[in-house]
Symmetry: C2
Subunit: 177 residues, 2 copies
């Protein structure tokens, strides 16, 4: 229901191309909302048709031209309305947990391997989130105030990853027996 709104939120902060958005979905916001590049381009098209955003081609030096999208008045209205609605609960689709839940066909070793691979990714994510956190702490008070809300989402990421890794430790202890 709302890749649309995620894009509006992003464009409301800063006009961007599809490619810019894609990069954000692969880092910052992407931590909380998944989208592949196809989905983004499709939504941009749709949002343009509905006049919630406008598009302007912008020549670049050293890089292919890009289409810069901007949120419109109408888009802002739609965004604000969405912001005021109660947000729907997060949706989780976690294949690893499904596998563990029904994993009696697998050896503990096979499960551990799968868990370890995930652990590596979570460890990397956590470390990059912590780097962002340190950068935040170095900001001036005014800047900290300005980034207060994104910082909260960063904290959510950090606490989430820490909890994941703590669990992985438990799981490893159990499965190694």
């Amino acid at each position: 229901m709302s890749l649309k709104h995620a894009i509006l939120v992003m464009l409301d902060k800063e006009p961007s191309s599809g490619y810019d958005l894609m990069k954000q979905f692969n880092s910052g916001l992407g931590y909380f909302w998944n989208a592949k590049h196809q989905q983004i381009y499709q939504q941009l098209k749709k949002l343009s048709e509905d006049a919630l955003i406008t598009c302007e081609e912008e020549p670049q030096h050293g890089k292919p031209d890009k289409k810069v999208y901007r949120i419109t008045e109408k888009g802002q209205q739609v965004l604000k309305q969405w912001l005021h609605e109660p947000s729907v609960p997060a949706k989780i689709n976690d294949a690893l947990l499904v596998k563990i839940w029904g994993g009696h066909h697998l050896t503990p070793k096979a499960l551990l391997k799968d868990i370890t691979e995930h652990k590596n990714r979570h460890t990397e994510t956590l470390s990059s989130l912590r780097q962002l956190e340190r950068a935040f702490h170095d900001l001036s008070d005014a800047e900290k105030m300005h980034y207060q809300l994104p910082f909260l989402t960063l904290r959510r990421g950090i606490l989430g990853e820490e909890a994941w890794l703590k669990w992985a430790q438990e799981a490893e202890n159990t499965l190694k027996k």
Copy 2:
């Protein structure tokens, strides 16, 4: 990519009707994999067509008849193959976090309200997970062994919910200033 596999996992443990599965998706496994009843019935149909499961109508007393599905040999093969593949990273779609990330249009009060509503749901979930955990601890050693893997997923749920609530506390402290 794998509501299909989640259903096979469930049917491998125990033959069930669509309604049975739906209830599980609204409690146990549903914590890690979302599915609405329509999706379940549609998948059951497809899985039957592909001969990964069979269907048998079972009359009941006191309740409408139900269709009991069982996993077939072929289904077990498909399931085992899936279990041996590395599992895809979990997908998160969390509208609340998107909203907070771009929530400068909202008052802290409005954000707090949204967070509080989510907090209530998470509190309830945590409390029911903890109840399951206590029930597990009362089991015999043999039974504990038997439920080892589902217990790990339960622990994941508990650690995840605790982390969420810890974050909510931080967010409230920040936003109440």
